[in-house]
Amino acid sequence: MDLTYPPEAEAFRQEVIAWLQANLPSGWGTPQFKLPGDPKQRRAWHVDWHRKMHAAGYVGLTWPKEYGGQGADPVMSMMLNEELTRFEAPQGANALGTRIVGPTIIQFGNEEQKRAHLSKILSGEEMWCLGMSEPGAGSDLASLQTRAVEEGDFFVVNGQKVWTSSAHLANYIYLLVRTDPTAEKHRGISVLLVDMKTPGIVVRPLKQITGESEFNEVFLQDVRVPRSNLLGEKNQGWRVIMGQLGYERSGGSRGMNCQRALEDLVRLARNTYRNGKPASEDPIIRRKLAQLAIEVNIVRLTDYKEMTIQLQGGRPGPETSFGKLFWSELNQRLSSVGVQILGLEGTLSKQSSDVVKNGEYLYAFLRAYGNTIEMGTSEIQRNIIGERVLGLPRG
């Protein structure tokens, strides 16, 4: 047990801190600072930030040098993540590419695919989205119906995806398709790497209960994808997905994020009156904050555990379901306390003059409902833990 970092990592941390202080816009982290309200301008800001990070060598720190990474020790990546989270700096405009698609290509891709995509993922030239769920295949992902039929050197794809986050911003989609409709459902699936400009792809944004549109429906009609864009082997896609879901479900900086949110709640409680006293003096609120603190510790330690496995060269397995499940349910409790402390004021939306912190607490509360659904519902995570960790029989 040793939760300290080696001196070279601590040195790197100082470097990152200095870089962030120099490069984050002035006023960052204060209530005065606001990102552009217009979605397009905000996106442009994020893309610009991604470029800055990339230029500094902070994107894909641990990826092999030959593919545009820095070949750094994973501990450096943790260091970087910790500081990015501490500064509440943006995580980069291409998180799906850098956190999920890239590592999956590194694990399952052929040399040509690695050369074609990895460095562009890092540079932000290729922005990725994940074409996974379908209207009839959410929790039961393996029952997906989007068909890909081989015609010469192409796969011709027809079908529909849903909950595709960032599809409206991406130029590449990581696409799960059915290549053998006669096989048992887990055995006929393949993964295609698809250029979003390919004719036949239509994206329609889905508005969420938060009022934002971070997800999309993606319609695919006679989309022709070169055979060379098959990731891994044909009909062996489930293996790829299982690997990729591990990356998707593993934490990274969940603990630090929750920690920041909790600290913010403690400040909020000190500044908000309930029954004539600061909420921070209300014993019931204190009990709730303490419980959150306990559970935030667990998320933080789960991160450490996952980092340790990663540092020892392991890959995320079914036990990442534990982290995803715990975090997602905690985050719902966590984000509901902010609204509760504020009381009726907590339910005010952005356009109200009395709104606190631009409606962040309400947004967080509503957004957190998605946490126990996306990337596999809590029910699915409990199935995985029951079956694949504890060895209980499948239902």
Binding site: I209, T347, T377
Partner: protein, 385 residues
């Protein structure tokens, strides 16, 4: 011993359900969220014509003179359909309060119009420093000549945008509970400005700002410095109205979820076949039925004027508020991704639930009142022994 609604009360509910099923589809609910007024006068008129405004108001003013429990059942149905508009503010906050505490002249001048659907009201009670007791009222009324001058801000008053008459609590002296007075204030009075705020459920609330607003002595409801018991009684009725909405809304959120669980297929079967979903639905039923029991019980005690009524209202609110949020939350989880979309209706219930949960005191607030009552009774019992 009869713990149920009467046939008449059931008939009222049934008629309301039939009417709202047609008149208050969720497209209407959504449209009213973006509407500045938050209701359509045509529907309001229909409701008035059906006698809803006057259901529990005296017959001499055109009402039906029924008990509070009948009104509770009606509001439950409104909650079921997420009916927007100032019904509770007008009828419960305004009408019933005036019927209980207003002078014959005041009643005569307001209630018949209210019953006909021609006049809207709201009760405005300050909550400074997050206080729901008398200490929350810090806006002032100072006697001047034959009348009073009102100053100060009252925040997050429901349906203040559309009210014609505001029933305002103001501080007339520094005594805690004995320093409050209720006034009837014309919403168009010079010096009164209304600043709309936007809660997530799309209902209408506003901050009222009083700048030297003058009212005559005849505007006082009850006696000067004597408003607290009137306000407390009105708040109990308002709180229970929220509970009624909550029970109705939670019931509908449950039904929608159960229906989805019957039809949505995953892993080759309807998801309602999986215990994770089936038991969630069963828990919803427990939440809803429990809330309904507490609601009817408290409403009955209120209408009987029983001494246990205040505690029963606290119990009902502590349960029904949290419970609605829980049921709507579970409803979203049962629906999965589709439940997270704006297009699906489940979030309408969730947002209404959260606003109700945090209105009129959350469950922790009411729990402390219940704890005090438990202690009081324990003292009473031990001193009786």
């Amino acid at each position: 011993m009869f713990f149920d609604l009467t046939d008449e009360q059931k008939a009222i509910k049934k008629a309301a359900r039939d009417m709202l099923e047609i008149e208050c589809p969720r497209s209407y609910v959504r449209a009213m969220m973006d509407d500045a007024r938050g209701y359509q006068p045509e529907l309001w008129k229909k409701m008035a014509d059906l006698g809803w405004m006057g259901l529990a108001l005296p017959e001499r003013y055109g009402g039906a003179g029924l008990e509070f429990l009948s009104l509770t059942g009606l509001i439950e149905e409104m909650g079921r359909f997420l009916l927007p508009g100032p019904f509770v503010s007008t009828v419960v906050g305004g009408g019933l309060t005036l019927a209980a505490a207003g002078s014959p002249v005041q009643q005569e001048s307001i209630l018949p119009k209210l019953v006909r659907g021609d006049l809207l009201m709201t009760l405005a009670v300050g909550t400074d420093h997050g206080r729901l007791d008398a200490g929350g009222v810090q806006n002032s009324a100072v006697r001047q000549g034959d009348g009073f001058v009102l100053n100060g801000i009252v925040r997050l008053v429901p349906d203040a945008q559309t009210a014609d008459i505001i029933l305002l609590a103001a501080r007339t002296s520094q005594q805690h509970e004995e320093g409050l007075t209720l006034f009837l204030v014309d919403a168009k009075a010079p010096g009164l400005s209304v600043h709309p705020q936007y809660t997530t459920d799309g209902r209408k609330v506003a901050n009222l700002e009083f700048s030297s607003v003058r009212v005559p002595s005849t505007a006082v409801v009850g006696r000067v410095d004597g408003a607290w018991p009137i306000i407390a009684a009105a708040q109990r009725r308002l709180t229970l109205s929220l509970c009624a909405e909550a029970v109705g809304g939670a019931g509908m959120a449950m039904e929608i979820s159960v229906e989805y669980a019957k039809t949505r297929v995953a892993f080759g079967r309807p998801i309602g076949m999986f215990q994770a979903i089936k038991h969630k639905c069963a828990n919803m039923l427990v939440q809803v039925e429990s809330g309904r029991f507490l609601l009817y019980y408290a409403a009955w005690l209120l209408q009987e004027g029983a001494s246990e009524a205040p505690e029963a209202v606290a119990v009902a609110k502590a349960w029904c508020g949290d419970s609605y949020t829980k049921v709507a939350s579970d409803g979203i989880q049962v629906h999965g991704g589709i439940g997270m979309t704006w297009e699906h209706d489940m979030h309408l219930f969730l947002k209404r639930a959260k606003v109700i949960e945090l209105s009129s005191g959350d469950s922790d607030y009411h729990a402390e009142h219940i704890a005090k009552e438990l202690e009081r009774r324990a003292t009473a019992i031990s001193s009786a022994r």
